[in-house]
Amino acid sequence: MAFVNWLKRNLVVIAGLLTLAYLLLPNVIVTVFSFNQPKGRFNYEWQQFSTEAWKDPCGVAGLCDSLSLSLQIAFWATLGATALGTMIAFALVRYRFRARGAINSLIFLPMAMPEVVMAASLLTLFLNMGARLGFWTVLIAHIMFCLSFVVTAVKARVMSMDPRLEQAAQDLYAGPFQTFLRVTLPIAAPGIAAGALLAFALSFDDFIITNFNAGSTVTFPMFVWGSAQRGTPVQINVIGTAMFIVAVLFVLASMVIGNRRKRRTA
């Protein structure tokens, strides 16, 4: 009876942890299979333990080129989307202007549209203009779909900002530029950072829009997609696992730094 009661009380915890397991199971598989030595071309069945792939992560033709291309695109897309998105967010929160409703919908719609529709329509534009598909078309597309997410992230932060801080700065004889640089920007920074991080992750991992607009350019997700047809090298799992570890360490480090700063100011 005690057990039944305990079960009743913790049912939601058990269900939640099961969901968490469902979410993390593929990552476990990816990690475990990065130590596999598959027999055929595909790395779907466990054969035997090996660290070969970890010793030579670039051992597959084109893999590391695609990885570096994806990193470059993600870097520039993040830079572009964050700059443009932050400007829009400030304008939306701080100023009154005409056509606000239309602008809000224009920012909301890309997030409410299936990726395949955006991808296909952008391709018709590029085809009509006779643009050569490649690095630039992918970059243009990535900035386009990351923009709305940056706006949302930065807007949330700027909205919660006390406008009197800027007034105080101006009372203390700071010019508009100085106020922005010394007061506004530092306060908005976490929102901008969150937006940039999101843009980077979205761009780096984007497949559908890239698939339509890349031509013969191969980004990392395109490489994985191609290898799903031709044969999956173990190195893909190595890169996947390494990315996961780096990301978790990055988040943990930023949390530790954040906590320490909080303690210092408290």
Binding site: G16, L20, L23, P114, T241, V251
Partner: protein, 310 residues
């Protein structure tokens, strides 16, 4: 979803006046700030939609070029040929959305109310998979659901597969390359998009409301049904939209985990555009998909009475 990641500090003074943008100086400043970004969206998001609409009513061939001939029949032909893929996409996406809600709610609830000092850790674990390419993670499901693998064996022993085969969700003792595998992949891929908004709205609920409800002799189930769930409605609505919309247009899961019997409309658009090169049909299909989703979303938002969400 990022709003959950950045903690908003409390305002310095709770009675701080809500700012009304009053600036006289720099009347043109907002327009300069908006110009580059909005221009980008107009040229590379809105304009392409116009081009796509125009392409869908063109006729011609790749060699001779296309001309706008207002050939609306393309829409009719596309619909009559590919309606099964449309129906299938909506059905799979709906199933995945319901599954996401059923699976995601307990986890969001756990993080919001029961996790205590584990909250941040669980939160990281929910977000962390994002940082491994989703294609690699989707491929991992090929291993998990492999024929004769442990998952399939267990389901077989429990006779679950007999039931799902009878329903047409799986075929024989295979899970891979069946509708169940595709829905499983879709659910997995979009689950975090359900959990994060759910968590955001659950976290805002004052836990004392639960106590008050208990004090008024409501059983936990009643408390959930009458207090917690209604208050989490904004999260439920935005979570279902964030899973349903991308799931409908997805073609990755159907390609990697499905078979020719699980082709979704995204697959058709992709192959028409990139392999068959029948641009008018592809554009028409994509346009129908967009219109259908916008109609469904508008109806859903009206119904759930959360217009202010958008």
């Amino acid at each position: 979803m990022t709003t959950t990641l950045t903690e908003a500090p409390p305002p310095l003074d709770a009675t701080a006046p809500q700012q009304k943008p009053p600036r006289r100086r720099g009347r043109w400043t907002p327009y300069w700030l908006l110009l580059p970004g909005i221009l980008w969206l107009v040229v590379f998001f809105a304009l392409p939609l116009v081009y796509q609409a125009s392409t869908s009513v063109q006729t011609g061939s790749l060699e001779e070029g296309y001309q706008v001939t207002w050939h609306v029949a393309t829409y009719w032909e596309a619909l009559s040929e590919y309606w099964p893929q449309f129906v299938r996409s909506v059905a799979y996406a709906a199933a995945a959305t319901v599954l996401c809600l059923l699976l995601g709610y307990p986890l969001a609830y756990l993080i919001a109310f029961r996790a205590g000092r584990w909250r941040n850790l669980i939160m990281i674990l929910v977000i962390a998979p994002f940082f491994t390419s989703f294609l690699i993670r989707t491929l991992a499901w090929k291993t998990i659901l492999a024929d004769g693998g442990p998952v399939v064996e267990v389901l077989n022993t429990l006779h679950v597969l007999d039931v799902t085969s009878w329903l047409g969700w799986t075929s024989g003792d295979r899970v891979l390359a069946t509708p169940l595998a595709v829905v499983c992949g879709l659910t997995y891929n979009f689950l975090p998009f359900m959990i994060l908004p759910l968590y955001t709205s659950l976290e805002r609920i004052d836990p004392r409301l639960h106590e008050a409800s208990g004090d008024l002799y409501a059983r936990p189930v009643t408390t959930f049904r009458r207090v917690t769930f209604p208050l989490s409605m904004p999260g439920v609505v935005s979570g279902t939209l964030l899973t349903f919309i991308p799931a409908t247009g997805d073609y990755v899961n159907a390609s990697l985990l499905g078979s020719t019997d699980t082709v979704m409309v995204g697959n058709v658009i992709q192959s028409q555009f990139l392999r068959v090169l029948d641009y008018p049909t592809a554009a028409a299909l994509s346009f129908i998909l967009m219109a259908a989703i916008l109609a469904m979303v508008t109806f859903y938002i009206r119904k759930s009475g959360t217009e202010d969400l958008v």
